[in-house]
Symmetry: C2
Subunit: 205 residues, 2 copies
C-alpha cells in the first residue's frame, strides 16, 4: 500500500458549519461530493473526534461553504487549526445563519449548501454523512479552490533548516502542531488522523 | 435551489473498472473521496443504470484508475461516451488486471486503487459505495486532472453557430448526445442525470 497514491485524489476545501442548541461552530473539511441528483444528495466525511462532527450528528443539519480563490491561509487556520472546544471561532469572524440556523462565512465563499443529514455511517476515524440539499446558492463569481491549490498556493512553505533545534512537529496534511521536540513513531494527528510520517519538524528561531 | 452552486464542488476524474464472471468493462466517474484512514475507506458514486455500476454491485470489487495530466479526450470518450452493453471497451485499449481481476488502464493513470465494496446505498439515480482499499499504487509522477481541468482543457469547445440546423443535443456535463432536433424540456440525461438546461445544440455541418 503506497500512501502517496491517495494524494492523487482531488478534493475541494470547505467550511462545515454547525449549530447545536444555539452554540455555533465550524471546521475545515476537504470531503464533499454530489452523489445523486434526483433527489439531490451530497456525501461528506468528518473526523469523529472533531467538535463540529459531534454537533452535526446530534443536530442533523449543517451548512457547507465552498471556499473560493480569495481564500487566505488565515481563514483555513482560523477554522482548521483550532478547536471550537477552546475557542469561539465566530466571535471575530463575519457570518450569517442559514435556514437551519447553521453559520456560514460571508467572505471567500463561492457556493453555499444548506443540508439535512439523512444517514450517518461510522467508519472508525471518520463518519460518512449522506445529506439532502435543502438549498444551494452561488455566493461569488470566483472559482473554487481545490485541496491541491491550498497545498501549493495558500499554505505557507516550510524552510529546510538543519542547523536549528527542533521544538515541535507540524502535520503536513492539516497543519496541526505538536509542541514537543520528540515525535513518537506511532503518533497519529488528532485533527486529521494522519501518521507520524506526515509530520515535518518545527525549528527554534 | 441554484443548480450552478453545485458546479463549485471539486472532483477528480477516474476510470472505474469492473469484472463480472470474466466479462470486463469500465466507465468514467468523477466521484471518489477518501472517507476514513484507519482502516482506509473510500466512497464512490455510480449511476444505477450504468453497466459498470450493475457489475460492481454483483462482483463486490472494483479498480479505480486516477487519470493524470496526459489524459486525452479520446480516453474520456472511449470510457465515458459509450456503453459496455454495446461495445467491448477493452478490445482495443491497453489494460492489465488487478488482484481482483478488475481491469485498469496502462496509460494516463497516476494512481491505482484496488477496492472491495463493504456497503452500497441506493440513492435513486445513483448508488453510493463505501469500499475497503486493498492496495494503492502510484502509477506515474504526473499530477491528477480535476473535473474542472477536463471541462476547461480536455473537452473540445463547441462553436456558436446560429445559422445552421440543429440535428441533436449534447449534455455539457458528460458529453452524451441525443440525435434528435427537438429536446423535450423535461429531458434528463440518461448517462449523468442532468436536466435539459445542461444540453447544448449540435449543428448540421
Amino acid at each position: 500500500m503506497e500512501e502517496k497514491a491517495f494524494f492523487n485524489l482531488s478534493y475541494g476545501v470547505f467550511v462545515l458549519g454547525a449549530n447545536l442548541d444555539g452554540k455555533i461552530n465550524a471546521c475545515i473539511t476537504n470531503t464533499c461530493m454530489q452523489v445523486a441528483n434526483d433527489p439531490t444528495r451530497i456525501a461528506i466525511a468528518a473526523i469523529n473526534t472533531n467538535l463540529t462532527c459531534e454537533m452535526i450528528k446530534k443536530s442533523g443539519t449543517f451548512s457547507l461553504s465552498v471556499l473560493d480563490k480569495d481564500t487566505t491561509f488565515d481563514t483555513i487556520k482560523h477554522f482548521g487549526y483550532q478547536s471550537g472546544r477552546n475557542v469561539d471561532k465566530f466571535a471575530d469572524f463575519a457570518y450569517e445563519l442559514d435556514a437551519n440556523k447553521n453559520p456560514y462565512i460571508k467572505k471567500q465563499i463561492c457556493s453555499l449548501l444548506t443540508c439535512k443529514i439523512i444517514s450517518s455511517t461510522d467508519l472508525g476515524t471518520h463518519s460518512l454523512f449522506i445529506a439532502e440539499v435543502q438549498d444551494a446558492k452561488v455566493m461569488s463569481d470566483k472559482a473554487p479552490i481545490t485541496y491541491a491549490d491550498y497545498q501549493k498556493d495558500i499554505k505557507p512553505k516550510t524552510k529546510v533548516q538543519t542547523d536549528k533545534k527542533i521544538i515541535g512537529w507540524r502535520c503536513k496534511i492539516c497543519g496541526y502542531e505538536l509542541n514537543e521536540s520528540n515525535l513518537p513513531s506511532d503518533f497519529v494527528c488528532p485533527i486529521c488522523g494522519h501518521p507520524a510520517d506526515d509530520f515535518e519538524p518545527i525549528y527554534a528561531d
